[in-house]
Amino acid sequence: MHYKVDAGLYALGQPDDKSSVLVTANYKLSFDTLRSALKGRDLWILVLDTDGINVWCAAGKGTFSTDEIVRRIESSGLEKVVSHRRLIVPQLGAPGVAAHEVKRLSGFKVTYGPVRSQDLPTFIDAGFKATPEMREKTFSTWDRLVLVPVELVPALKAAIIVIPVFAFLAGLGGSSGYWNNLMNHGLLAASALLSGVLAGTILTPILLPWLPGRAFSLKGMVLGLLVALALVFAWDAHPLRAFTSPEQLAWLLIVPALVGYFAMNFTGASTYTSLSGVKKEMGWAVPVQIAAASCGLLLWCWSLFIA
């Protein structure tokens, strides 16, 4: 994957020695977003080497850093290119950059720009002043929606293998012939697992603010339980139904565990969870998920092969 641009100093439009200098990461999307937000302006862009990672993540990893800024100022000869000593650094780069250290080491004063690059023109025109709204990292429905594929794609890849295994086992178990069993227990299993995946990776991100609780796992498990209940009731209308109560109960355990797990992993994509919080949440959520899923699986096997 090559989404990198070369680190160094770039000219946007026809900048001179008084033009502003904006700092960004060498992730191609960051660079392109910045360029398109400032179309028609004359500016310098100082691209840091963050190994093709975006500003916020690179700041967390320590590659978008004080040292890298100082190094890039020197290697690009920025002191000779501009007569002023001001750098506009994205606010989300601040976890990796100490403004006072940059000043001490390079003489350049860091001014933190807005969180979103589309606010940059307003920020610059206001004399490098950000409004409180420009300083806040939000997590809108759209922000959450674009993150859906991050979990959905790997989950579907796993489902392609896991669902046929369940369907095959369902055919072997049960009281009727293979195909009858498959069309009963197998269909229930396949639809339960698929709804679990879709609820965990699509519905959870969309419904996040409205799901009860603060812990992501709790939000997911509540949603999972609702989905599982809806599914069990819906399949009750199956004309040839042969489901047993233990089998239905098994899915009422497995689906919430599955959705809770996907929800828990969405903490990494969210913009407001702390590591301390995630560790606290996982302290109870992981054992609960493992217990519910194991009990559910045992119950399912028992209902099909022993009962």
């Binding site: 975006n54 606010q91 301390s276």
Partner: protein
């Protein structure tokens, strides 16, 4: 839209008011309006909104703010527990202590990309 807030009373953020010079750099860099300033001193206004990114502590010239820095990512915690390294996934937390003294400097954890 409703503002999303994570768990109650869990973050490691602390502020030493004695050291605070009231420069306000922390107010600029915080992405969740955790801090506020009145009468030339900063105070923690909304602790539960803190995501421990460490921007405030990093940019405090007076070293008045401290926070144990990390990325709130369950996948990274799982990977760390399973001993996976960055070769398999970018979501990795470095072992405690490897990033230096946790008391004086924030630990540097790598997170999800």
């Amino acid at each position: 839209m409703k503002r999303l807030v994570y768990l109650k009373d869990v973050v490691t953020l602390s502020l030493d008011s004695e050291k605070c010079s009231g420069c306000g750099m922390c107010l600029e860099v915080c992405p969740h309006k955790v801090l506020a300033r009145d009468n030339g001193k900063v105070r923690i206004e909304d602790r539960d909104a803190c995501m421990e990114c460490g921007a405030c502590a990093k940019n405090c010239p007076a070293e008045a703010l401290k926070v144990s820095v990390g990325v709130g990512c369950a996948t990274a915690v799982i990977n760390a527990a399973l001993g996976r390294t960055s070769s398999s996934c970018c979501c990795v937390i470095e072992p405690e202590g490897s990033a230096g003294d946790t008391k004086s400097t924030p630990t540097r954890n790598s997170g999800c990309c």
